[in-house]
Structures are given as structure tokens and as C-alpha cells.
């Protein structure tokens, strides 16, 4: 019982870390640079599926015919770099208006989902792709969860530190300037579009990193796990916690995971499983609307450098 409970908590912690990565990546794009990226699920999915395709061996699953059978670290790097290249190719779109960019990135995520669903021999389609992990084979359930949790914790801390440094560096200050008043920043001679493109790419690569860990954590990927709900959940978590503040991004994800787990554990109505599964989102939606009306800066509010 205690072992099960411990591994449950650790698995929950890992889920939190993966969502936290997405959330702080989005915070970099939206909170620091004002890029409205509605394609979070798309980059997450790209990271997961590129890792999956790189790791699977061509003979292990009956319906998947392509696979590189690479070890996880190589697959991870491959996933991040390929996603980075794709993000760089679509990044000129950051010139567009905020709403248009939101629509186009949403469409991009949809395109990725459609491609994944319709190329069964490559991605497993609706039946999904399954990978095996050396960690999983050699360790028991508890130590597997523990090892995974620690790896993720270190990654999140590193990324957090990196983004903090970035925010208070010259690069971050120029980004903040460009977000607040693009015309002024341009007049001062900064090529704001090029800065925003870089941030778009870095953020998307962190999202791909999260996806890569996600598939390695679950050892499978099906398109349903990467629906547009992920995008909306992360957005809601970020706005709830406070955009422009990495701690706020973590807090928002924490609230989501807490509500989700509580609904899952304690809200069991016999004969109506659908209520527990959906109440989380209704509660999240209600809290979100109240926060956005009463406290538009989010629970923690933006954290700015003292020069602002």
C-alpha cells in the first residue's frame, strides 16, 4: 500500500513537472515576448512522436514499419532539434497580429494531429506507438518512478534557472521592451521580430522536451493524449497563476493537477463516471473566468525586473 502510494505520488509529481515545462515555455513566449502560441499541443506532440519514432524498432509493433531504435538521450536531442527547425521555419509568422498568430498556431497543431493520425506506418495512427525503456526493464515500479521524478526535477530546475537568467539578461530586457511598446523598441534600433522568432523557437523546443519526457514516462503515445485540450489547459494554468511569472506558471499547473487529482479520487458517484472526469474542467473553467475578471494579472501577478 505504502509503496503504491509513494509511486502514485511520484507519478503525479512527474506529470506536474511535464506540465510545468509546457507552462514555463508558454510563459516565455506569452508572458515575456507577447507571442500568442495556441499550438502548445502541436509542439508537445511533435516532441513526443519524434522521440517515439526514433526509439521504436521497426519490427516490434505490427502496424509501425519505420523506426530508428535509438537510445533515449539521442532520441531526445533529435526531437528537440527537429522541432526547433520546424519552429524556426514557421517563426516568421510572429510578425502577424496577436489574434492571427493564435489562429495559425492552432491550425498548425491541428495539422500535426491530422498528419499523425493518418500515417499509421510511421506514427501508429489511432492505435498508437509503444516504446520500451531500459529504466523500466531494470528497476521496479517505485524506483522507476523515483528515477524519473528526479530526472524531471533536475531538468525543470535547469530550465527554470536558464529562463530566469534569460529574463534578467539584456535579451530579456529587450523582449520586455518589445512587448510593452514595439514601436519604441524598433525606434531604438532593436530588430524585435528577430528576438521574438528566437523566443518562439526556444519555447517550442522546451515544449518538445516536455513531449519527449512524456512519451518516455508513459511508454506509449496516442493522438488523444495531445488534443487541443492540452493547449487550453496550459493557457488556463498560466493565466490563472500569473503570466510573466515563472512561479505563477508553476502555481497554475499545481492548481490544475490538485483539482484533477481530488476530483479523480474523491468524487465517485456510482453509475456516473463521466461526472468525475468532466467536473475538473468545469471547475477549472469557472475559477479561470473569475480570476480573469477579478484579477486579470493572475494569482501571483507578473514579476518584472527592478529596472521597469
Amino acid at each position: 500500500m505504502t509503496t503504491n502510494f509513494a509511486s502514485f505520488i511520484l507519478a503525479l509529481g512527474s506529470t506536474f513537472m511535464i506540465y510545468a515545462l509546457l507552462s514555463i515555455a508558454l510563459n516565455l513566449q506569452w508572458g515575456q515576448a507577447g507571442i500568442m502560441n495556441f499550438g502548445v499541443a502541436g509542439f508537445f506532440m511533435l516532441g513526443a512522436y519524434i522521440t517515439g519514432i526514433s526509439m521504436v524498432s521497426p519490427t516490434s509493433i505490427a502496424w509501425v514499419h519505420v523506426g530508428l531504435s535509438l537510445p533515449f538521450p539521442v532520441a531526445l536531442l533529435l526531437a528537440i532539434s527537429v522541432t526547433g527547425i520546424i519552429a524556426w521555419l514557421i517563426s516568421p509568422l510572429v510578425r502577424l497580429g496577436v489574434e492571427q498568430l493564435a489562429i495559425i498556431t492552432l491550425a498548425f497543431a491541428e495539422l500535426i494531429a491530422v498528419i499523425v493520425e493518418n500515417n499509421t506506418s510511421l506514427t501508429g495512427g489511432g492505435r498508437g506507438i509503444y516504446i520500451t525503456s531500459t529504466l523500466d526493464k531494470n528497476l521496479g515500479l517505485l524506483s522507476y518512478n523515483l528515477a524519473f521524478f528526479l530526472i524531471l526535477l533536475i531538468t525543470v530546475l535547469l530550465i527554470y534557472y536558464f529562463l530566469r537568467k534569460l529574463n534578467f539578461s539584456q535579451f530579456g530586457r529587450i523582449l520586455n521592451a518589445a512587448r510593452q511598446n514595439e514601436m519604441k523598441a524598433k525606434a531604438l534600433g532593436f530588430d524585435t521580430v528577430s528576438y521574438r522568432r528566437k523566443v518562439f523557437v526556444i519555447g517550442s523546443m522546451i515544449m518538445a522536451l516536455a513531449g519527449s519526457f512524456y512519451i518516455y514516462f508513459l511508454l506509449r503515445a496516442i493522438p488523444g493524449l495531445f488534443s487541443v485540450s492540452i493547449t487550453f489547459t496550459i493557457w488556463i494554468a498560466l493565466i490563472l497563476g500569473g503570466s510573466g511569472n515563472n512561479l505563477g506558471a508553476l502555481l497554475g499547473v499545481g492548481i490544475y493537477i490538485a483539482i484533477d487529482t481530488l476530483c479523480d479520487l474523491y468524487l465517485k458517484i456510482p453509475g456516473h463516471p463521466e461526472i468525475a472526469a468532466n467536473l475538473t474542467y468545469v471547475i477549472m473553467g469557472l475559477i479561470f473566468i473569475i480570476v480573469i475578471i477579478r484579477r486579470p494579472q493572475g494569482i501571483l501577478g507578473p514579476k518584472r525586473s527592478r529596472y521597469e
Binding site: 500568442m36 496577436v98 489574434e99 492571427q100 493564435a102 489562429i103 495559425i104 492552432l106 491550425a107 491541428e110 495539422l111 491530422v114 493520425e117 493518418n118 485540450s229 487550453f232 493557457w235 488556463i236 493565466i239 463521466e274 461526472i275 472526469a277 468532466n278 467536473l279 475538473t280 474542467y281 468545469v282 477549472m284 473553467g285 469557472l286 479561470f288 473566468i289 480573469i292 475578471i293 486579470p296
Partner: protein, 278 residues
Amino acid sequence: MWPIISAFLTETSILFLVTVGFFLIHRSAKFLNIAHGDYVTLAVYLLWTFTSLLGWNIWVSIVLCMAAMGFISILIDRVSYKYLRGAPLALMLCTIGVGLIIRHSILMIWGGQLKTIHITLPNLEIRGMVISGSLLLALAFVGLIILLAYYLFKHTNLGITVRALADNLSLAENFGIDTEKTLTFLWFFSGCTATLAGVVLVVNQPLTYSLGFNWILLIFAVSILAGEKLSMPYLLVSSAVIAGGMEVGLFFIPEAYREGIGFAILIIALLVRRVLQK
């Protein structure tokens, strides 16, 4: 040849119907209502309750459902969007929350299993061309909305205030136009058109919780392609262009990517507009 034209006309009418409510709100209140697709879904579930659960007549149910959806949209506006007037980004994010609540409430109340509404429509036959009942219904709804909009926008004070809002919101306010009243009317109209779109959608397919939400990208595409002005003919042309593009594109590209074709048309149009402006 006729089957292709028929499919094209059906697609155009559906695109027009699902977009028109979104379009009116976007042009007058100046924000993207991402939840509009979910209004359509909510409408069809209400319709299912009226017809299949309570056993009422389908046409009576449609009219009741239009009224109900009109008031529900006004209610949603009053409890949430009203507090965020003049902040388009906050409004857009708020509609995400509203859409999430609607989708998951539908799953909680009506459950996830497939439901169908039986609407029997007579087919019309002219010189061997069979015009299906669903196409006639869709065309009738489109015609109704265009005529109504024409009458309202040209001949009533309320319609003129709508056009004033669409042209310049703050100027309209400064001229003493009661923008709240106009917006209340627009939300009612938007809810009604969502119902009509829902009716046309469920003639040929079962009800699912994401029925309306699946259209959101095409709604964006049609609405943006229709240009900056609040104009029903432009919206109809834009629906026709995207529907036509998707029908033609299906000869070359697999069925699964048809939304992508609609979107490609939008991106090309935006680029062309950008080049023309320069």
C-alpha cells in the same frame, strides 16, 4: 456534375451558418469568440432534449431552441464578457474558459454516447436533379438570415447601431448609442444562428460533444477571409470560396486534410492582401 454542385452548396451553407454568429460578434464587439462552436453543440443537445426526450414537434422545438440559445448567449455575456469590455485578448481567453465549461457540462449532463435526431425532410426533384431536403433546409436558413440581416441593417435603427458599432466602437459610444443594448441584440442573434447551424449539421450526422468545436478553424478561416467589413454578402462569398476550394482540393488531397485546404486558402489570401497593401 450535380452531386458536386450539391455538395458545394451544402458546404457553403453550413460554413455560412456556423460562421455568421461568430462573424457578427467579431466585427462589432471586436473579439474572437472561440466558444462559438460550443454554442452550436449546446443548441443541438437542447434540440435533442426537446424532440427525443420530451417528444415535441421538431419545428416547434427548433423555434424554442433558438429562443433558448439566444437567452443563454445573453446570459453568458452578462455574467462574464460584460466585465471585460474593451479588452479583446482577455475576452478571447475568457471564451476558452466558457467553451471548456460548455463542452464538459454537455458531457456531464448528456453523457458521451452517440445520439441522433431524426428529421425527415422531403426531397425535391426537378428534371431528374434530386435536391436533397437537407440542402433545401440549409439554403432556406441562409436565405432567411441574409434577408433578415438586410432588413435589419438597412431599415431599422437597431441595425444601423450595429453597423455603427462595427465601424468604430468608441465613436459610436461617444455619439450616445446604447452599445450594451445593441450587443445584447447581437448575442441573441448569434445564439439563434448557432441553433440554425446545429440543425443543419445534425440532419446528416450524430451528436457528439465536439460537434461544433471541430468547426472552429474553418469558422476562423471564413470569418477572416470575409474582410474587415460587417457584410453578409462578403461572408457568403468567403464561405463559397473556402467550400469551393475544399471541394476542388479533394480531387488531389486526401479527405483527412480538407480543413488544411480551407486554411491554405486563408493564408494565401492574407499574403495576397499584405502584398496588395504594400
